[in-house]
Amino acid sequence: MTTEAILAGFGGQGILFAGKLLAYLGLNQDKQVSWLPSYGPEMRGGTANCSVCLSDHPIGSPYVTDPDVLIAMNGPSYDKFIDSVKPGGIAIIDSTLVTKECTRTDIRSFRIPSTELAAQHGLPGMANIILVGKLIKETGIAVIDAVRPALEKMIPPKKANLIEANMKALALGMAL
């Protein structure tokens, strides 16, 4: 089984971090994984995106063109990628920032006001993790207990206090 995902939004929203979290979740389950970022000026405030593949088999193309799962965190990213989602796939959309309703009927789409939710719950900058929580719930690619060890690998010890906040954001997303 292979899951291909595209995560896209503005630089600074934690798109690459959210993609890395998915990759680490796969790594900890002994899956084959790849994480391919857009790089260069995007990282400094333009649009950023990354491709993530999780598979039981060696990964051919790490470059995802037709994702099973899309996380879109801004309007331009939504416009660019929504039509590429495979029929039967999943789109998880930050509805605080993407105003358009999703008109595709052959995919499951979820509009979640994650930026607003993050602000309400005192989790600034963690709208990305709320959406990852929803992704985990809808795809079943990992259980919540697997997330903490992944975060521990990703977050340096001196920022360990952020792990709890990430877990809170994730639980919030999974409850939606």
Partner: protein
């Protein structure tokens, strides 16, 4: 063994350290800067030297100096920076010095762009500088191979006393995949095992000279001819390619590096559609794996060369096949990545054309 999730650039840097590289000299450029950043952090901890030079030209000349002393050393850059290094690489080839040069290719010519590309194939395999010479060229296709071929490049560079290159691209450098390293131990080759090295010896032997200047034409000719005899040995000993589903393949795709990954996905899709497709992936680009390519194409009606360039490796594929099989080309350039679906379309078109 622990699986680490690392960028290709980082895996390559770690592998270099474990292979006993003790000198890194570079200058930052996207998309290879993570190599420098990683070396800056790690090198001081293993008793090595990390030095950010004032330019690419300075960096390659520092490599020349370090390699002369018999110490394993390297530099890395991306396309425009590699052009700047070409003078130094030629001097190193002319002085029979080992070193590893990493090129994480980006779009060109000129300053070009920063997105992945393979348009430096000719530069790497034909003429990375002036004069009669070759360098070893390895083309990894995964983060694991970025690590594996780094060690190999150092070993073979020492063995044949010639510069070696890892020819990667922005996609391989930037992507993260699981990677394992053979052992925790850092290999430390003894510089004294290089009897030609210009290291200190307390006047106990005749002094060595590292030099590429020979004003007597016959003397220079002899040296170059001897070097080319060595290249013939290299050709017979170093040639590597991966063959994937080529046994009965009627359409064989030839691709290297990251593009081979995309081509492999396209080959699988073609097989699902009932087309007998396969992939041959040269891993050594110089020497080119002539026999492996020939073998992979023995049942081929057509060959499709896919590259992120206007078509450079295709010439070596044609030469390997002695033009006995028609070789077509599909490529994207300037930093555009070819989609597996577009490669599949080309396979389908060739399959319909058959051997006409």
């Amino acid at each position: 063994m622990e699986r680490n999730l690392m960028k290709g650039n980082e895996a390559l840097a770690e592998a270099a350290i474990r292979a006993g590289c003790k000198g890194f000299f570079g200058y930052p450029i996207t998309p290879q800067t993570e190599i420098s950043a990683y070396m800056a952090k790690r090198m001081p901890k293993v008793g090595g030297v990390f030095l950010q030079a004032e330019s690419e030209i300075a960096a390659i000349n520092m490599v020349y100096g370090c390699a002369s002393s018999g110490v394993r050393c390297m530099t890395s850059s991306s396309s425009p920076g590699i052009s700047l290094k070409s003078e130094g690489v030629s001097y190193m080839a002319g002085s029979d010095l080992p070193c590893v040069i990493v090129n994480v290719m980006r779009g060109g010519p000129g300053l070009g762009g920063i997105q992945p590309s393979q348009s430096d194939y000719w530069q790497a395999t034909r003429a990375l500088g002036h004069g009669d010479f070759q360098i070893l060229v390895f083309a990894p296709s995964s983060v694991q191979e970025m690590a594996d071929y780094m060690g190999k490049a150092f070993d073979l560079s020492d063995k044949y006393r010639m510069p070696a290159m890892i020819l990667a691209d922005g996609l391989l450098g930037q992507m993260m995949e699981p990677v394992t390293f053979g052992s925790e131990e850092i290999h430390t080759p003894d510089p004294a095992l290089k009897p030609w090295a210009t290291n200190g010896h307390g006047n106990k032997r005749k002094h060595n000279i590292v030099n590429s200047l020979y004003l007597q034409a016959e003397e220079l000719e002899n040296l170059v001819v001897e070097r080319f005899k060595r290249y013939e040995i290299v050709k017979s000993e170093v040639h590597e390619a991966e063959c994937y589903r080529t046994d009965d393949a009627e359409i064989v795709v030839a691709a290297y590096g990251s593009v081979a990954r995309l081509a492999k996905a396209a080959v699988d899709l073609a097989r699902e559609a009932g087309i007998k497709a396969g992939l041959v992936r040269p891993i050594t680009l110089w020497p080119f794996p002539v026999q492996e390519v020939k073998d992979a194409c023995r049942n081929a009606k057509r060959v499709l060369c896919v590259e992120m360039s206007m078509g450079q490796m295709i010439e070596d594929v044609k030469l390997a096949l002695d033009c006995r099989v028609p070789v077509d080309f599909y490529g994207r350039t300037g930093g555009v990545i070819p989609k597996p679906s577009a490669i599949l379309e080309q396979i389908k078109i060739l399959n319909e054309k058959g051997a006409e």
